[in-house]
């Protein structure tokens, strides 16, 4: 299930290179086959209808059976294509907007991880390093907890299993809302530092932003596009394609079956993509985000010493340069307050 057909992994520069060359136009039979299999029931139905229409039009109608196949019927499909178009545009744009909103919300999580960690590491005195370490640990757990909660899939806990005591893991897995618990723990840890109220409030503001971003994902995952639209679009497209052969036979004769199959693939294919990405947490690479955010939190703690070192070295060099008064950044000594 993890190698989902509609899952989009992060793009590397190589991916982009291929993406923008003419190679993107090459057929990919393996993917085509999988998509085709996905649409096979609809295709089967369309083939059945087309075959029936061909046989009726060729054998029965000429014998005086009631006229069911006629070039004249095409006007109806021309008149209604605007409505089909509007429903498919609506589905495409709405589904993509949901997908991108979820992606944006998940991307905001990374900002919370980095910002809270940076603020804490700048502001907390060295004597409270153990609190910063604990905070980083829970910061690294936060994204997997949110993913497990959103996707209702326990497998995301694997990403942070080594960071948690077995009892902690068991407790979180049994909670009905683990990320809210983790946020409360992070909030409690900040309260135990010697940060002032104003600093604490600033960190808490970022935790609030995480909750809001989590809420956006919850909202998208729990609330589908109004079913009435989904239903109406599906009905419209199926009715349209089912009756199209009655009008199309006189134009294309024995090519009817392949043409209807191609049309069905192209039209139902568009609707199908919109339906598949409607629940974005299923197609976004959530596991990657878990690993990435975990790495971000832990690596900031690990490199804290380097950053402090860089600050010291820079200040020393600047002082030396100021003393020598022949600094290469001559422009900057004009600030002379």
């Amino acid at each position: 299930q993890e190698d989902h057909l509609f899952k989009d992994e992060p793009f590397t520069p190589t991916d982009w290179e291929r993406h923008r060359s003419w190679r993107r136009h090459c057929p990919e039979p393996r993917i085509f086959a999988r998509v085709f299999r996905m649409l096979s029931i609809v295709e089967l139905w369309l083939v059945a209808v087309s075959t029936f229409v061909m046989l009726y039009a060729h054998f029965l109608q000429p014998k005086g059976w009631p006229q069911a196949v006629s070039k004249e019927y095409m006007i109806i499909f021309q008149l209604t294509s605007f409505a089909l178009s509007l429903l498919m545009v609506f589905r495409t744009q709405t589904a993509h907007a949901r997908w991108w909103e979820a992606r944006t919300a998940v991307g905001r999580w990374l900002n919370v991880v980095r910002n809270t960690q940076r603020m804490l590491m700048s502001w907390v005195p060295p004597s409270e390093a153990h609190l910063v370490g604990e905070f980083a640990r829970w910061n690294a757990v936060l994204t997997p907890a949110a993913c497990a909660y959103l996707c209702r899939r326990q497998s995301y806990w694997e990403v942070c299993e080594d960071l948690l005591q077995p009892s902690e893991l068991a407790w979180l897995r049994s909670c009905d809302n683990p990320p809210v618990k983790v946020l409360a723990i992070m909030s409690g840890l900040v309260k135990r530092t010697s940060l002032s109220q104003i600093e604490r409030t600033a960190v808490e503001g970022e935790l609030n932003a995480f909750d809001v971003a989590l809420g956006a994902c919850e909202r998208i995952t729990r609330q589908a596009i109004p079913m009435a639209y989904t239903r109406h679009t599906s009905r419209f497209i199926i009715v349209y394609l089912t009756f199209l052969p009655f009008a199309l036979w006189p134009y294309v004769q024995w090519l009817l079956v392949p043409i209807i199959m191609v049309l069905g693939f192209l039209l139902v294919g568009i609707e199908n993509i919109g339906v598949q990405i409607e629940n974005p947490v299923r197609v976004l690479p959530m596991r990657r985000f878990c690993i990435g955010n975990r790495t971000a939190a832990l690596s900031m703690v690990r490199h804290h010493g380097d950053v402090q070192h860089a600050i010291e070295a820079g200040l020393l060099a600047a002082a030396a340069a100021a003393a020598a008064a022949e600094s290469p950044m001559a422009g900057m000594d004009g600030k002379g307050q």
Copy 2:
């Protein structure tokens, strides 16, 4: 009335599974019948017109009565379909945007419930636990109060009847704006804690966010899409479908009635969905939100002890690991401030 045809309940993973399989294309006769009954007056009108056109075209026009039915008239429908299309696109997109904005605002309420509760529980000293408990109680009442106010339906109070004294309930039900009252109570409770001004202001900021989200819902519920557009769209679609038979008869002959019925169902159906979801608080699962937000507020208080326990246990384990200096999270001891 609760089992409203356009009400969209939250989706479970099972719902999503069905949603993305080919089963979404299966006809649902029960729903179809209910939608059809909803549109039956319009359908009846269209059948009447079509029947009249058929009779006139078949019996009277050939006898030299004035020509009212002609293939040539089709050009008018082809020329104007772009305008009908634009009105229906406008209705669809605007109605859905309102629906989604209301859903987003209601989702923001949950964030307020969780964020205010988390901040209070982290920041208030244990000696003021009774104030936190009271705050949680009103926090749990806030969403039902907002729903009762927005939907002008007293039944939402049932969700929190057990949390309120009879006198409180009576007072709130008699208020013209209960959620504003509840927000004022929550604000007053925060003022009575020993929180500093900066902390109090941060909590108040979230209460302000609730009021803004509530205002968004009020705005959507009180102000419909400009009636001029609604009216013009309805007139356009009815005129279009009423006169279509005069042009369509020569193309489809005796199939006119079923075809007009299908066309009417598909076109008026699109407009109808847009009208039904235009007032989103009627079709969103507000009762679920009441229950969910109530649970969120109360369960955070209930699990407050667990969170405190997890913080303590984690700090102890970290201290032990630091002492043993062989911690499995070896990377993190490089932070050495």
Copy 3:
């Protein structure tokens, strides 16, 4: 002028009920007559052109006069309808977006009224109740002042005449920017309370939000959609409808005049709605907002005692329940901090 054809009053539940039933499709002759009168000049022009075309095509062209009427010309209208469509879509969507942005900004005013009042009433000590009362009075005046300023109509002052001293009213009416003055007064009143800087800044932040929302309305009211688009759309639609009869006559013969009238009504009608709502403060129910916001401010002060009473009673009941230890909210005593 107050019973403006495009003015949309707030919807009540009854309005919604009618709105979503089939009754919205019923013709409303009175409104139709008023809209028709609005478009009558254009209609007159179209009737004149159509009549001329009919006479020319029937009497003169057959006699060998130059060919001006031909079925072949229809191709030009088919080719260009996409451009007309795009201009009308643009007008519809832009006008509605402006209308909704203005409505949202005006809705934000109510949030400012409620939030500032709530914050003040929670935070200011009882000894400064007179300052809160004065603040509420100016809070109630704020929205009428903003409406009088935006709509350049003095009649909005009537809403708050009883709240203002004659000298105050005279002074405000003579100001070139009354809402900015009222905001300055409110800001000055807050400064005179004993609120701390942090609390004062929070209130001031909401006053800033009012100014931003006011600025949005000013921007929309002072700056129309680029005239070039408005002009081009009008020219395009008039040229299109003026020359359409030359192509349409051979298709519809003596039905030309009614058909062109209907087409003109439908197409120019769409453009006309877009133009009418382009300046939203003229069609939004501003007087209702004035009254509503006034009521919100004053009623919060009036019910302040009830809120304080509810807080006290709730805390007492909770204390009693905690003492009895058999509270019906058993879950909440598990928080045991």
Copy 4:
């Protein structure tokens, strides 16, 4: 150059009145002539091509020269009009979105001017009035400085020449980024007041908002819509109109030249508006904004005394009313804290 064809001055109520009457449909020959002159090169090219096509189709093709003009070619224009439509929709919507974003950002400047001035005047003690005066002076200079910087036109300085010492003006005119300098001066002035850190930070937040709004304008002015789209749209439209006569001749015969001219005017006209408003600071009434924002800043200082007076008078009247206990605002004495 100031009377730019696409410049949109602020609308007065009278403008709106004319705008929404039928008069907007009247032709404006003077403006038409100017637009036509703007498009004259394209029109000339289209006339040349049409004339060539007419001559070829009438004289040469019948003599057996290769067939270049045929009714059959029309299908190509029908097939591709959707793509031309999409490019023109894209240009129209994107150009208008940029224009409106710039207008919104410029409108935000006014809010900054008013909000910073109000906060300062409320918060700064009377003894520091000279600092407030200086702040107002620079506040009034801020918008002209931003306009001169954005439009790279020194003439905007005239608006505030009387407010600046010659040496200040000379210095600002020589800066590469004057508004950033003015913001730094305003920030420095605030630092010299006795405002607390929290108040200073709130004012600074509004200055940040000015910088962000300025950045939005810079971004729009420096970065055009991707040239590839502009180029492709222009090429598409020119190719479309250039080859259209080859298909159109058989339909319209000797009316070809006027018809192609009208089509060219309508289609290229739409693209042209999009291009002209793509750089909004050139078509927005920037000089008006300079004057308006200057007036706003200075008049707030000028009327500061009136505001203080209104506050005092109001408090006195309320005290008197409270003493008399029969105030007409009877509802408000129920707050009884």
Copy 5:
């Protein structure tokens, strides 16, 4: 690679002048050739198919080979063009929205550079000028670091090589996330100043805003538009153009090859632009942003003295004018607090 065909450099006033004149419609053969080369594989394929169709239709079909080329097939392309249109609209709008979002986020960086620097320079006492200088140095390094990280191209470091010690440069180049390190350094420098917590938090808020804007760029660069849409669009367009000759031959005969080439160029060209700007950091002028932001940071420090001087001079002049009491800004002394 730097002279990328789709790279859009900042527009100067001269560029705008040319842009809005008729010259934008002139063909640019050099650019045309480069675009054509880009699409040459697709064009080659289309030429091959068209040639085959021509030969088959002219030589083989008349001899009784199966009918593969027919005017009747055109109906299929007319029916499906709405779906192709919707896919191309989706690609165009989505790609442009990503491009503009990235441009906006990058523009936000400049605001952070200017705002943090201004706040620091206003607030930090002269004795800590060395910290401000160091902050400016890292502020100037921040944008190149972000660009090197986003584009995975080390060449951006050249922009700030002279500002960094070799060891600093080496360390940053080896980091996996250099901008986060630079932000941590800047945060640490602010902590070492004597700024109060509230001031520090305000600066930190802007650093958070940089992180959020960086996150937006990361999100856009790592996550492409859902591949399913890209694939479906490409397949649809190729299938459409590949089979079009079978329907088009009877209409255009021997002009088939050039017409298909032009159609291919126009349609695939639109899709191609959308694909090329899908990853905006590759086509935006990132190097310019690096240089611009570096200049902004350093020049603010360099001109700090001028700003202080301007403040002093202005205050002195105002004091003198107040003393003389005949100031030209007579209106302002009416504030008389």
